[in-house]
Assembly symmetry: C2
Homo-oligomer: 206 residues x 2
């Protein structure tokens, strides 16, 4: 049981310092990626110093983990809000289309996926954080699909979890290919395919 020996701040001042450090590190991770995160850089940007960092974190990996956690929470908040509003197939389609439109403006890769691929051979604790983040995202989709099914738009034999997995795979694959190709088309096509997959389980009216 390797418990987290990272000591929590014990004063307001300490809390503020630590928070600022994590936030700056998270921005750096987003901007340049995990393995390009430089301690000196983060510390100077945060107006902090080595001793502060090693006071609150075991080592670099500890800071990275905190930054990844922070960033994932940020992204998940947003995703939760977006998908919680979905209660019909039409809403699902429009939300996903809006998602693609927004993505088309930067084509920077999935905010969670990028972290995940940088952590595949990385420190296990941080890796687990992104694995959980994906699970959360998938659950948002699954819950939306459950609502859609319960509203009678999907057949009762449609499994929301499986549909969510398929939809998420389409999104990830689409975002990834769009990033590589620097062109939003793959994401849009993948989205169409993914929605088509879900529509295959639509409840036929008769």
């Amino acid at each position: 049981m390797r418990d987290d020996p990272d000591p929590a701040p014990k004063t307001q001042r300490g809390r503020a310092s630590r928070d600022r450090l994590v936030e700056v590190a998270a921005r750096a991770v987003v901007a340049r990626g995990i393995h390009q995160l430089r301690l000196d850089e983060v510390l100077s940007a945060a107006g902090s110093s080595k001793s502060q960092m090693y006071h609150y974190f075991q080592d670099r990996d500890g800071l990275v983990e905190a930054a990844v956690t922070y960033r994932c929470a940020e992204v998940l908040d947003r995703l939760a809000a977006v998908f919680e509003s979905v209660g019909s197939l039409g809403e699902l389609a429009s939300v996903l289309t809006a998602f693609a439109d927004e993505y088309a403006e930067h084509l920077a890769g999935c905010p969670i996926g990028t972290l995940a691929s940088e952590l595949t051979s990385g420190p296990e604790p941080a890796r687990r954080v992104v694995v959980d983040a994906f699970a959360s995202w998938e659950s948002f989709l699954a819950r939306a699909l459950t609502r859609i099914r319960d509203a009678g738009e999907l057949r009762s034999d449609a499994d929301p979890s499986t549909l969510a997995t398929g939809l998420l795979a389409a999104l990830e694959g689409g975002m990834f290919l769009s990033q590589v190709r620097r062109d939003a088309t793959p994401l849009r096509v993948a989205l169409t395919a993914g929605l088509g997959y879900v529509h295959g389980f639509r409840q036929e009216l008769d």
Copy 2:
């Protein structure tokens, strides 16, 4: 026009040395990833030395590019052979299922996708190599789909290129999620979804 100033070997001996270097580097890239490739390590594994490397390559990036090119060619050879044999929807499904079965044994990420994501912010020449590799892969799929369409299994309004993009996105997303989750399920689900997408364009018999 930054031409490639990397000098070609001028003797058999030189050619052999350079080839060996590239091959060893390619293996190292596959095993540990691009940014974990260590010159000293590759050189000793290849029984080579710094002077040889810098004799044939401008710098580390030059070797990486050669290794990536080598590796992509290797993978594409295999993919070409596999998909060239596809001439019907049934064959497409069985080839993709076999693909998933094989992937399930390592879950190590798409051999090209992994390189691509490591190169998104990397040196442009190497990046272009993987972009082209993806384009080739997609064209293998598109050609198979064209044959399937021409054989009358897909409607004439089905666009093989678009279908190929959708299918590739499903594959990439599926492989990626399976790698992250360390579980083959997402790839299998994504494959089902992707094939369903293609089947949506099936020519109806009547």
